[in-house]
Amino acid sequence: MTVTSEPSSESAEATPQFEKAAQRKESRRGFLLALPSYLYLIIFFVIPLAIVLVYSFATRNRFGGTDLSGWNLASYERIAEPIVRTILFRSLWLAFLTTIICLLIAYPFAYFLATRRPAIRNVMLVFVMIPFWTNFLVRNFAWRVILGNDGPLTKTTEFLGLGTHELLFSQKAVVLGLVYGYLPFMILPLYAAIERIDGQLIEASRDLYGSGWQSFRNVLLPLSMPGVIAGSILVFIPSLGAYVTPEILGGAKTTLLGSYIVTQFLTARNWPFGAALSFVLMAIMLVGTVIYFRKGGRTL
């Protein structure tokens, strides 16, 4: 806004100097408004981030404490160790799998939503938003109940004559929990992208004898790409850092990066190594975010 801020500045001969002063005043006001949260984030976000960086170069001493003198790269070198590499690749793989499954479910669903009448569509959207707002821990726990011994799923499979299942504490259960947790994150950006597409473009491609598949492949998919990318990043990143889900639904062989980092702090007491792993996780996140913004995504 280029409004002059004081009634007195309404004098007919507002000199350029006067305007400059008014602008400076506006700029100062903006800065003062931002200042409290700016300072807050510097103290409670930027400084903590710097501390993690420092710790990642430190050494763990014999008592499980951290020696901050003598910086080295030992913690980062440990990432090449087989155990760590296994966990890292497993996390990337499961996060990738979660993302793909969410995409396969959410894309047709988002398209389905976009083809409903506006009144129905809004109601349907509300019912997607509800799980999005519902406590994540509780939603994961629900699956623990369902998959548990003699739980509803076993009852169902036995009733259908399929025998018992051993899903709980497996990687499948973790992926299931992650898909359940993050599906709304995929649906919402996809829906936003598809809803914006002009339906006439698809009609035109059909009129020009494009098959359903060709219309999808050459018209719908390219136009909805920003939604695909946004949704994928919104699902992939939290899946990679997941801690609650593998802890509740996973077992010994499903340690993911998130839980591995937590272990370094709460049980193994190797803080420098945990700090280094946190940084790796954040680096992956930053790369993802940069891709997202490059591809023209704006809303988070």
Binding site: L33, V52, T134
Partner: protein, 276 residues
């Protein structure tokens, strides 16, 4: 804008089936959880007749009630402070230009996209060092608990509130504000009487999201809490790791109910926001 074209034939049927399956997938687990919270069987997930015992357990457990009251206290303080700071930040970014604006804008996004675990680690190390420094300089012996959790929740909620309030501000016509100022309203008066009433739905939406995120947080809270201090999700998480009991079912349903109330309120805020 024309609506996307609905496909015909088998593709149409497949879309419909997928749609219904997604809703079943979303709601069946929640429905089963609620159902089993009333089941008179020590084994969760097996129906054993109707009972309210597990809810009685919750009200009898002073730990659970204590954790609930901690959660609520923290959520209230967090919501108030995050809403004030987040709204100020949103106004600064949407209505003013100032030095360092771009850096501030980028910084404000980081707490939203950073993984929980990383943020938890950051704050754990920060409070460790911070308390050491305070002890060294002033001989203050602080312990982690209410304030360390509250400060941490605010650190991520400022960003969420500001995103929601900004969305409202950017969709708003500035003509009215300009008219008010032209009519000799001070900048503050223009804000108080013109801008603020219009962004109230945005602020309410932000407040509800902040409260929800504060009530739900497990990972960060677990890292910055101190001995003898626990919130309801951290308490439940601890219980789940020890073994599943029906008490967890009933607490889960109570948490679910709290989430639902907040969703409904936020939908009203959303409607008011759309209605303008």
């Amino acid at each position: 804008m024309s609506t996307a074209v609905e496909p015909r034939g088998w593709a149409k049927a497949a879309l419909h089936i997928n749609g219904w399956l997604v809703y079943i997938f979303f709601y069946a687990p929640i429905a089963l959880l609620v159902l089993f919270s009333f089941s008179d069987n020590r084994n969760v997930g097996i129906w054993g007749g109707f009972t309210l015992d597990w809810y009685q357990d919750f009200f009898d457990s002073s730990n659970a009630r204590g954790a609930l009251s901690n959660s609520v206290k923290i959520a209230i303080v967090v919501t108030i402070i995050s809403v004030i700071l987040g709204t100020m930040a949103a106004l600064a970014l949407e209505r003013f230009t100032f030095k360092g604006k771009k850096v501030f804008d980028a910084l404000l996004y980081l707490p939203i996209i950073i993984p929980d675990v990383t943020m938890a680690v950051m704050l754990l190390l920060f409070f460790g060092e911070f308390f050491d420094v305070l002890d060294m300089l002033f001989g203050l012996q602080l312990r982690k608990g209410f304030w360390s959790i509250t400060i941490s929740h605010i650190a991520f909620n400022i960003s969420f509130v500001s995103v929601i309030v900004r969305a409202r501000l950017s969709g708003m016509n500035t003509n009215l504000e300009e008219a008010a100022v032209d009519l000799y309203a001070s900048r503050w008066k223009a804000f108080r009487h013109v801008t603020l009433p219009q962004i109230v739905p945005g602020i309410a939406g932000g407040a509800l999201l902040a409260m929800t995120l504060s009530l739900d947080d497990v990972v960060i809270t677990q890292f910055v809490t101190g001995p003898g201090w626990t919130t309801l999700p951290v308490y439940v998480f601890g219980l789940i790791r020890k073994g599943v009991t029906p008490l967890i079912n009933s607490i889960s349903v109570i948490m679910l109910l709290a989430s639902m109330i907040l969703v409904v309120l936020s939908l009203f805020a959303e409607r008011a926001r759309r209605g303008g």
